[in-house]
Amino acid sequence: MLPGMICMIALVAILLSAALFGVLNSEKYKSEQIRYKLGLVGGTENEMVDLGVHMLETEDDMQYVLDLVQFEDEDEARAALRNADISAYIVITKEFTDAVDSMTNDAKLKYYATSGQKGISNVMMDEIALVATNIIVPSEKGICTLRDVMAEEGYKKTETYMAVYEIFMAYVNTMLLRGEISTVTELGISDGLNTIEYYFISMLLFFALLLTMCSVSFFTGKNNGQYKFLAAKGIIPVQQVMGEFIPLLTVNLISIVVVLVIANAAVKLVAIDIEISAMLVAGIMLSTVMFTSMGYFLYETLVGVINKVLVTFLFYIAGAYASGYFYPKSILPNLLQRAGELIPTGAAFSYVGGVVADRNFGWPVIAMAVYTVGFIAISVLIRKRRISW
């Protein structure tokens, strides 16, 4: 019994590590980590354009999606674009900077992009144009206009400096305010979880689910004669069920702790951005309690070894699919999504996902407690019936 269980735990740990490695090396995960890189050619000699670029990099919402890369000339930027080092580049021409300085509006930025997979979207282009034309250019023009008008009117340099400084600070405030209009929220792929968190949780839960099948047959599935004999000795059905369930649960909890320890080591080894907190561990453990009661209930209800294994496995797979363990359940019809949340596998996912995403996880805990008690209660009733047969 013990070597079999150790082998199963080792197998689960290897599968978990392999799956995590697969997720880390997936294109989807990698692409999620990439921000658009936008090349900039020229414009750095103009203090106002330079200031605008600086503000875009540090104060504007665009800082979260854009990496600005400065190039000496257009050839260099074009080569970078060909190598897919950048998604697009903007040429800030002398005409443009002169137009900014002379307060005219007849020069435009030149924008170059590829139409490949890493090309910047039309929405992004519009956003850049919006920032440049509606905020940076008019604001900077206003500052330049004030400076020139004051110079023409014969104001002293210190007075001009103070006035320009004042309007410049108003400009900075405007930019900061724009940055505060919205807060950046990482929506992730589902339920506030990013890809790595989502699949880390779903895989852990799925293995916790499968673990319940590993050792359950050691504790259940005895013949009715044994149950009758125990009952005749004064060991009533509830004692019989708990006498089997508690050791089974202990084995499963030890197994899941081993899996978590290995997962923690794997996370550190490959530097995955997820924290295996005490709350997460508690969540997985509580889910294991419910899964164990569910596995026990299924094995107590079903008759015949092949029947038990097949039906339980199919039940688990169906539950895992419906609850979004393999893919976000948003691909499913609304009714099925709702049902997928309410079934035991869904309640466990909502609970553990809520722990990781820092959401309210009250109802899933209650649902899991109800399921656990329900599974054990029904198992006791089935045992009682078996004894009286």
């Binding site: 019994m1 050691f218 005895k222 013949n223 009715n224 004669g225 044994q226 009758k228 004999f229 125990l230 009952a231 005749a232 000795k233 004064g234 004894i387 009286s388």
Partner: protein, 221 residues
């Protein structure tokens, strides 16, 4: 004195036991005969406390065992038809569930387990035992509380003659020490072992005296 009075039991509309009455004296073996589904096993499971009856009494020395489950567990041993052993464990490990280590050693050396011959295979896993060894081990497990009454549901069904003889030999010794037995059976040898027999039919118990006439017995069932 063991008294079983007016036991009634029904499943839905089907009356399985309809006022079963009989007594068992100390050192007596009573056989309950009947066709399959006649209610033999149901009667034994009621007496063993595995299910409730609709009405009736089951007394040993004036104590109502249907109400006092603790006393019943102590005074009554039940050996079901199916094997109640844990097959992954040895005879010793199975017995340890019911005996303390000291009493187990004592019983294996000179007590009931010695009489059953379990001392000869106490280290053998159940999965490697013959049917007779398993049945003797079942009886050994059931006897841990030194009961006054044994309830046996077809104890030697499907066993060879040698195994049966070992078990019957133990029954005789148990009987000689004042132990009583109620055996639900189809086996002619077990019927011959009984001091009295009853045939259960349509939920009612009728007296029966076995005289070797098997066609007559079959006709009564």
């Amino acid at each position: 004195m063991i008294e079983i009075k007016n036991i009634h039991k029904h499943y839905g509309k089907h009356k399985v036991l309809n006022g079963v009455d009989f007594t068992v004296e100390p050192g007596e073996i009573v056989g309950i005969l009947g066709a399959n589904g006649s209610g033999k096993s149901t009667l034994l499971t009621i007496l063993a406390g595995l299910q409730n009856c609709d009405a009736g009494f089951f007394n040993i020395d004036g104590k109502d065992l249907l109400k006092d489950s603790k006393l019943r567990n102590q005074l009554v041993a039940y050996v079901p038809q199916e094997m109640p052993l844990i097959t992954e464990l040895t005879a010793w490990d199975n017995l340890r569930m019911w005996y303390s280590a000291d009493s187990l050693k004592k019983e294996l050396n000179s007590g009931v387990l010695k009489l059953l011959g379990i001392d000869q295979f106490s280290k053998v896993p159940v999965s490697q035992m013959s049917g007779g060894m398993k049945k003797r081990l079942c009886i050994g497990c059931a006897m841990n509380s030194n009961p006054k009454l044994m309830l046996l549901d077809e104890p030697t069904a499907a066993l060879d003659l040698v195994c049966k003889e070992k078990i019957y030999s133990y029954f005789e010794q148990y009987k000689s020490k004042g132990g009583s037995m109620i055996i639900a059976t189809h086996e002619v040898q077990e019927i011959e072992l009984c001091d009295r027999c009853y045939i259960i039919k349509d939920g009612v118990l009728g007296n029966y005296k076995y005289d070797g006439d098997i066609p007559h017995l079959i006709g009564r069932l």
